[in-house]
């Protein structure tokens, strides 16, 4: 694995290896001293062209717990807002000697360009690009699903996951359809037709316009996607008539929560719009694993950075680069 750009690029075995590595990483995080020497002397740049405090601090925590040096490069207030191109930013990072670049960008495909245009030699990790992909989110979701529903090992064979919300604009949905499918899960997407892309019929999943019928099928997990209120109006026309109608038709409320199978879990990539796509009852219920998703995110990102960087160069003694058991 040279880069992590797209969940689709991961084979079944690569994905399982990341999850297994993440499990080892997670085990170290209950120790008193959380920091590992694995990536000492390596530099990880968090290159964020879009606000995302949650994802940035998750990657930052992951890199620091592996003892990497972390540089946070935020487009806000940097030269990017003055019109510096992605290419020139990349050349600057190369000059600074970044070993890995974690990039969040509003344009779909920007991480691909960074990885393949010949501007930098670093490993590139996609931390969310436009409406394309967010592979570490899918990995942390898979990790969470595996922990709760598959005994914490292997893949997700036979699990049924229902993803609800703004699929059209969601990189989380695209990454999860790819990765969960690779791991053997069965995915159903639920959304109003306006929030599904033309071309979704080619995806390896089911599509349902009705949340109630999808829930009646008894999914093992329900993942609610964030719906932005501005999708209601705006230049593209309204995707749905009102937040109230959306909430009535596609929100996870008390009644729908109660209709879920006993063992089913509730997920959300955050940040949540309480009262819109998810009720407080659902978000705070015992079956909600939303807070755990966040902590699993650190372990998964530690695993990704470790697998990308350890072994590409040996900065320290061998025993320091081994995965802690």
């Amino acid at each position: 694995m040279r880069h992590l750009l797209c969940a689709k690029d991961l084979s079944h075995d690569e994905a399982v290896l990341i999850l297994d590595t993440a499990a080892q990483m997670a085990a170290t995080q209950s120790r008193e001293i959380k920091k590992l020497p694995t990536l000492r002397g390596r530099t990880v740049v968090n290159l964020f062209f879009e606000d995302s405090t949650r994802t940035r601090i998750s990657f930052e925590a992951a890199a620091k717990r592996l003892s990497a040096d972390v540089i946070n490069f935020s487009a806000k207030g940097s030269s990017v807002s003055k019109g510096e191109s992605l290419k020139d930013t990349a050349l600057t990072l190369r000059a600074m000697g970044a070993d890995a670049v974690v990039v969040r960008h509003p344009a779909s495909g920007a991480p691909h360009r960074l990885a393949h245009a010949g501007w930098i030699d670093s490993a590139v990790v996609n931390a969310g690009d436009g409406t394309h992909q967010h592979p570490t989110q899918a990995l942390l979701d898979a990790f969470t699903l595996r922990r709760h529903l598959a005994g914490g090992t292997g893949d997700l064979d036979g699990l049924h996951v229902t993803i609800v919300g703004d699929v059209l604009h969601s990189r989380v949905a695209r990454s999860n359809v790819d990765l969960l499918g690779t791991l053997g899960a069965h995915v159903t997407l639920v959304a109003p037709p306006t929030l599904l892309p033309v071309g979704v019929e080619a995806w390896p999943c089911e599509v349902d316009y009705h949340l109630d019928s999808a829930l009646a099928a008894g999914p093992d997990a329900v993942m609610m996607l964030r719906v932005q209120r501005e999708r209601m109006s705006g230049a593209g026309g309204g995707f749905f008539p009102s937040p109230q109608e959306y909430s009535r038709l596609y929100g996870l409320d008390q009644r729908r929560l109660a209709a879920l199978p006993e063992h089913a879990i509730v997920m959300h990539p955050g940040p949540m719009n309480r009262g819109l796509e998810i009720s407080a009852d659902a978000a705070d219920s015992a079956r909600s694993v939303i807070v755990e998703q966040v902590s699993n995110g650190v372990a998964v990102r530690m695993a990704v950075l470790y697998l990308l960087l350890a072994g590409t160069r040996t900065p320290a003694a061998d025993d320091e680069t081994k995965v802690p058991a």
Binding site: L86, A107, H132, V198
Partner: protein, 434 residues
């Protein structure tokens, strides 16, 4: 004046013959005549000089991308003797002054005849008609009007333009793109755009405008030219309109005949173009339409851009590809070598029909016969060449064919009896060309 003999080339791919060029004209056909310079045409095809109804020369305003000089050098190397220069320059070619400037730059460069296209509306804004009559009666004698790059979306403005240009036998060349359906659109809306998370450019946004415009053209009895038809649905609408007797002509670009939206998977903006690359089914429909005459012309939509406008993320990149130096090879690859068209058909779609539509058929797109103006291109169909954008004459390197091996090569181009290209190279000597 130097005389030239093209020995043993096949006019329109027919029987080989010797062609004598003297005093700017084809002096004689047949074997034997002698000349100052003999060009070996054995195994080669002789066509009328190509005519492009759709070139962006970028001057005035974007001389960093192309100039009239560099763009017309590229045209000559591509086998062209005439190009129509689109109006989306800076300032926009929406006045007699600007079109005359472009026309003079073309005449001074001398590589091909440059016919400026006039903007339909002031500043390409789609609101008020530009002074179409002034451009038509200027030294540039504009006959083709287009807001290309933008659609004349307002149906009333489009109707008035179609009507108004009848007074001087003009034609409105429409860039068919419904603007509301394509806000921020990046790629053909379908399976690939859904997966790549790029905002979709739906086929219906083109087809809705083509359908509206053919009906408007019928209603007011005007002629309409549809630029860069890219979808199977548009081909079907044009076929229907022609069957009804509507005076519509249509263009396909080389890239829409050759490439599909699958090319976007690497997010390389060299494949970003407007209208976007479509599906294999659309490519097949375009080839069918070109072969059966539904589509009248191949226009390059040669759209040079400076490196920085492509060296970036997809959404930030400019739309467009260079094409003058590869168009004939792409048509050979997609239509001739596949058995869909003859070289006579190639002459029809790349020279005769565009010359007729652009109203330059007194000089260009003529038969290869004694007494005709010697605007000719000699093509070696057996040649194979690797496309190297940096070595092309165009100032820009945004060729989607870079690294590909394409069939065919332009060996010589003659403009009114003077070679602009010999042995596949530009004839730089002013004495020879002057």
């Amino acid at each position: 004046m130097t005389t030239y003999l093209i020995r043993g080339a096949a006019p329109l791919g027919g029987e080989p013959v010797d062609v004598l060029i003297a005093d700017g004209r084809i002096a004689a056909l047949g074997s034997g005549p002698d000349a100052d310079v003999v060009v070996d045409g054995a195994g080669m095809v002789l066509l009328p000089g190509l005519v492009d109804l759709h070139t962006h020369l970028r001057e005035p305003g974007r001389e960093d991308a192309e100039t009239v000089e560099t763009g017309t050098r590229a045209a000559a190397l591509g086998g062209y003797t005439a190009v129509h220069a689109m109006a989306n320059t800076s300032p926009v070619a929406d006045t007699a002054g600007v079109v005359e400037q472009v026309w003079r730059l073309g005449r001074d460069a001398g590589w091909v005849d440059v016919y400026p296209v006039g903007a339909v509306t002031v500043g390409l804004e789609g609101e008020r008609l530009a002074e179409l009559g002034a451009m038509a009666t200027s030294a540039a004698r504009v006959r083709v009007f287009s807001d290309d790059g933008r659609c004349v979306a307002d149906p009333v403005v489009m109707r008035r333009a179609l009507e108004y240009v009848k007074a001087f036998d003009g034609v409105v060349a429409q860039h068919a793109q419904e603007p509301r359906l394509t806000e921020n659109a990046q790629l053909h809306e379908g399976v690939v755009s859904a997966e790549l998370g790029l905002a979709g450019w739906p086929a219906v946004a083109e087809e809705a405008i083509v359908a509206r415009d053919v009906l408007l053209a019928e209603h007011v009895g005007s002629r309409l030219h549809v630029l860069h038809v890219s979808t199977a649905g548009s081909v079907e609408i044009v076929r229907w309109a022609k069957g009804r007797g509507i005076d519509v002509t249509a263009e396909a670009t080389p890239h829409h005949l050759f490439l599909t939206d699958e090319e976007a998977r690497g997010y390389d903006p060299v494949f970003k173009v407007n209208p976007p690359l479509r599906t294999p089914a659309d490519v097949a429909a375009l080839r069918d339409g070109l072969a059966d005459g539904t589509i009248d012309t191949v226009g390059t939509d040669h759209a040079p851009h400076p490196r920085e406008d492509k060296d970036c993320e997809w959404a930030a990149a400019a739309s467009g590809m260079t094409g003058l130096e590869t168009a004939l090879s792409v048509v050979q690859a997609t239509m001739v070598d596949t058995g869909r068209m003859t070289w006579a058909d190639v002459a029809r779609v790349m020279s005769v029909a565009p010359a007729r539509i652009g109203r330059v058929a007194d000089e260009h797109g003529r038969p290869i016969a004694a007494g005709e103006p010697a605007n000719l291109v000699l093509v070696d169909p057996a040649a194979r060449r690797v496309v190297e954008p940096a070595k092309q004459a165009t100032k820009s390197v945004n060729s989607p064919y870079r690294g590909l091996t394409l069939p065919g090569a332009v060996v010589a181009t003659f403009l009114r009896g003077k070679p602009t290209v010999l042995d596949g190279r530009l004839v730089e000597s002013v004495e020879v060309r002057a």
